[in-house]
């Protein structure tokens, strides 16, 4: 039974729960919008990283460079899309 619950994945799950609880602080504690967004950005991206490395086995085989290049590419396009939209449509720059 024990071999079915590898420590790495159990810890990854516990860490994800912890990050979710930390993220909840932004609505239960009194803080500025900037501070709240900073906390959310950190907890969300760290948690995505945990999923990618612990659960999705992203770096396990010889395809590792191709997989990471592709993920970085997707993430960069995503960030450019979101930040570019915020710049022109929300922050009015």
């Amino acid at each position: 039974m024990k071999e079915l619950f590898p420590a790495k994945q159990v810890l990854g799950f516990a860490f994800s729960i912890l990050l979710t609880v930390v993220a909840l602080a932004v609505i239960f504690l009194d803080m500025s919008f900037q501070m709240g967004m900073l906390i959310l950005l950190v907890t969300a991206f760290v948690q995505a990283g945990v999923q990618l490395i612990v659960f999705m086995h992203a770096g396990e085989t010889e395809d590792r460079p191709a997989i990471y290049t592709n993920i970085y590419y997707g993430v960069i396009i995503a960030i450019v899309t979101v930040l570019g939209t915020l710049l022109t449509m929300v922050w009015d720059m």
Partner: protein
């Protein structure tokens, strides 16, 4: 067929390796799809017209339940893949079934949430905000729904054919998809719900 026995079953043939790499490329495209939805959401989040704002309609309890259901399901499918690598088919199928049940529960809560939104006057056509909110949540929910059927068919196929390089490969790829849905949910949870309630 050339088999490499030093690698887990799901990577054991060249075709399998390519399938997994191909699916990662698909997930790269999915990241961009959700990025466009988030970009639209941030643009329209304050255009509430005569409809309610996010702070008025979001409730933390169902959102937290959804978050923990999906987070746990992502954990159990990870355990399922671990059991698959140990060759324990029965344990693997149990973990996969638990995953799908958690996914089904998630979907149930999300449907309840949608019905609730419509009841409080936040339908798809109420305002730019409600329209992009329901589109973004709905796109994620549609992915989960598809995943439920996909996972069910994989369980049936493994029951019929056992663990082969092909079925192991399909199961692994399905697990990637399911983890990805959890990653998208983390961003929805953080930047739609928590930001909206801040």
């Amino acid at each position: 067929m050339k088999m490499d026995h030093s690698l887990p079953l799901e990577y054991s043939t060249d075709q399998n390796k390519l399938n997994i790499l191909g699916f990662w490329i698909f997930l790269g495209a999915e990241i961009m799809l959700f990025a466009t939805l988030f970009a639209s959401y941030f643009t329209l989040a304050n255009r509430t017209g005569n409809g309610p704002t996010g702070a008025e309609i979001f409730e933390i309890t169902p959102v937290l339940i959804e978050t923990f259901l999906l987070l746990t399901s992502s954990f159990t499918i990870g355990l399922g893949i671990h059991a698959m690598r140990l060759g324990k088919q029965k344990a693997m199928l149990t973990f996969f079934s638990v995953t799908l049940l958690l996914g089904l529960a998630f979907l149930g809560v999300e449907i309840y949430e949608f019905v609730h939104y419509v009841h409080v006057g936040a339908g798809l056509q109420t305002s730019a905000f409600t329209s992009i909110l329901l589109t973004t949540l709905g796109t994620h929910g549609a992915h989960v729904t598809l995943g439920l059927f996909w996972g069910l068919f994989i369980i049936l196929q493994i029951k019929k054919r056992g663990l082969t390089p092909q079925t192991a490969n399909k199961s692994f790829i399905f697990s990637l998809y399911w983890h990805f849905l959890d990653v998208v949910w983390i961003f929805i949870f953080s930047f739609i719900y928590l930001k909206g309630m801040m």
